[in-house]
Amino acid sequence: MRKKVMVLFLIVLMAFSVTLFAAGTKEASSDTKRVVYIARAQGDSFAAWLANAIKDEAKKYPTLTVDVMDGQASDDRVNTLIENSIINKYDLIILQANNGEAQTPYVEKVVAAGIPIILTNPRIPGIKGTNSVDADPYEQGAVNARIAVNQIPKNATVVVLNGPAGNMHSTARRKAWEAEFFAKRPDVKIGGEQIANWNKDEAMKYMEDWVQALPKIDAVVSMNDNMAAGAIEVIKGNPKFANLLVYGVDGTAEAALLIKEGLMTTTSFQNAFELARLNMKMANDILSGVQTDLVDTDIDCPLITKENVQDLIDAYIATGDLK
């Protein structure tokens, strides 16, 4: 009896899953073009923001249907999704690579199949036949580092929080800090440097330990806002760190609020809305024949400071991300 119940349960579950899937899939008419956006990892907050922004932007193009796939931060999965997209004969692929090297052979397959492809956040350099829309991760780190040169005091001790090992954005931003700040300020000492994997809670643990281990910390250099916010969470309200300088990247809503409160110094805005707008415009231009050449586009990496942060906060209030 229990077995029969189990079998019935499984049948119902399968039918339910298939129904959900069918309900989620839009059927394209012959006049519409099918676009797939392969997100690096919808579980990653920035990647999720970009995916959501692309879905919203796609609504402005009634001749396009956009399916969003989740790479789940796995090279293997992203590569499989690329292959599946070729087999499913999408008219255009927008790819947010997890790892440029790992995805290169599969992007080349897309090009060989004659399917237009846009590489976004990041672009993968050196592949012929691709378009791209990106924010330069080196510049994202550099805009903070250049202003920090004059802000961080002499003989300061700084701590550094990095993204996941091998992550292109984290590596490029760190390179920028090395070239634009540490090379120019040999008096500054790195008191601690760890990989916090973009995560706020991991950054908190490192900062808690550094506060104990180091006689002083003058600045936190973080490769993203999430980790910077984690470091701030540890020292907020502590008068010993009233003058702590904190630098991040992304321009998240939380970072905007922290900058306004004076707890964070600067961040560079990685505008997912602008990336989405340019990606969808490019997709539409390619599929409608307006764009015939290969194009690489960069969005700006504006520095967000206390002076201009209110504009960003207002934008987040307008989208409902802040109240």
């Binding site: 579980g43 907050s45 601690g192 760890q194 995560n199 706020k200 808690e208 330990d209 506060v211 998240t252």
Partner: protein, 339 residues
């Protein structure tokens, strides 16, 4: 010869029984010697606070593993419980309701795990793996993958203190006492050991195995929900991606603490000792500025050594008993090589 032979078994028995605590104390002492900041009140408070979430999860894992089960979903369920709890707080302004929702979500998801494992006999590994995907998916779907900010007074659970003691530490202590009491002093606890030791014998002896397993998951759900509330309030945000891998950290503390994957063995005090071992390790390596990659290698090696030492010490304690039982049975000739 008589007094010397009396002392050696006592020392061996001591190490066998308390090996994990010996390791914990040794690690504590070595850490104190390696860095002058280790022993500061602030640093020790940090360690306690940092391990509080995973230790609370570890208590749940301990009860499950003792009875031959496991929960691979605790990280994902923790995240879902946390984001839903925060959402309810932002909507109602009530910390009490938000707290209840967090616990409720943990219990609900674990109820499903319990039904799958206890009533449908699904292997716990598979059942809770499925729940992991469901819970994480819901957390991401509900929040559209975005973090929830501006959580106001919700932070009191993870950042507040009572009589100078951080609230997460108080909760960790309370959950330790609860787990210790359940395992040592209740019929439910004895049933867990019996089921983990020999499920068929447990059935034969009249233990309602299905019910006990189901209740174990419900209790785990309370602990996971609580952990979610504490983590999100500690980080001052609802993070749908949070706690990835926390179940393995909890299991690490559980296993280092002497809980056996084969079931029937484990204690709350062993688990908390295991949690301290991991906490001391993480802390001292950060205080010493050890590189991330090296930290991973060192942690893996020390954890393996700690478990091997613990198992070896337990085996040494068992051997004299085996010999004694053979002698008592009058089969001494079995000990003599007759060839």
């Amino acid at each position: 010869m008589g007094s010397r032979s009396k002392k050696m078994p006592h020392l061996g028995a001591f190490f066998g029984k308390y090996s994990i605590y010996v390791i914990m104390v040794l690690l504590f002492l070595i850490s104190a010697l390696l860095n002058e900041n280790f022993l500061s009140v602030a640093n020790l408070t940090n360690i306690f606070r940092q391990i509080s979430v995973t230790t609370i999860l570890a208590f749940g894992e301990t009860m499950l593993v003792i009875s031959g089960m496991i929960d691979l979903a605790s990280g994902a369920v923790l995240a879902l419980a946390g984001v839903l709890s925060i959402t309810v707080y932002k909507a109602t302004g009530s910390l009490l309701i938000a707290f209840a929702v967090g616990i409720g979500v943990g219990v609900l998801l674990n109820m499903i795990s319990g039904i799958l494992v206890a009533y449908f006999k699904t292997p716990p590994f598979i059942a809770t793996l499925a729940i992991t995907m469901v819970a994480r998916g819901f957390a991401l779907l509900f929040t559209k993958g975005q973090n929830i900010y501006q959580i106001g007074k919700y932070i009191i659970f993870g950042q507040g203190s009572f009589l100078g003691i951080p609230i997460p530490i108080i909760f960790m202590a309370l959950m330790f006492l609860l787990t210790w009491y359940l395992l040592r002093s209740t019929r439910f606890g004895r049933s867990l050991y019996a089921i983990g030791g020999n499920e068929e014998a447990a059935v034969a002896s009249g233990i309602r195995v299905t019910n006990v397993k189901f209740i174990a998951y419900l209790i785990n759900g309370v602990l996971v929900g609580l952990a979610g509330i504490l983590l999100m309030s500690r980080v001052n945000a609802g993070l749908p991606n949070a706690a990835a891998g926390y179940e393995f950290e909890a299991l690490t503390a559980t296993i280092i603490g002497g809980t056996s994957f084969s079931g029937g063995i484990g204690t709350a005090s062993g688990t908390i000792a295991g949690a301290f071992i991991v906490g001391f390790l993480n802390n001292i390596m950060n205080l010493l500025g050890v590189n991330s990659y090296v930290q991973q290698i060192v942690k893996g090696v020390i954890i393996a050594l700690a478990v091997v030492f613990d198992i070896a010490a337990k085996n040494k304690r068992t051997k004299p008993k085996e010999i004694a039982s053979v002698l008592e049975s009058g089969s001494a000739e079995k000990l003599i090589d007759t060839k």
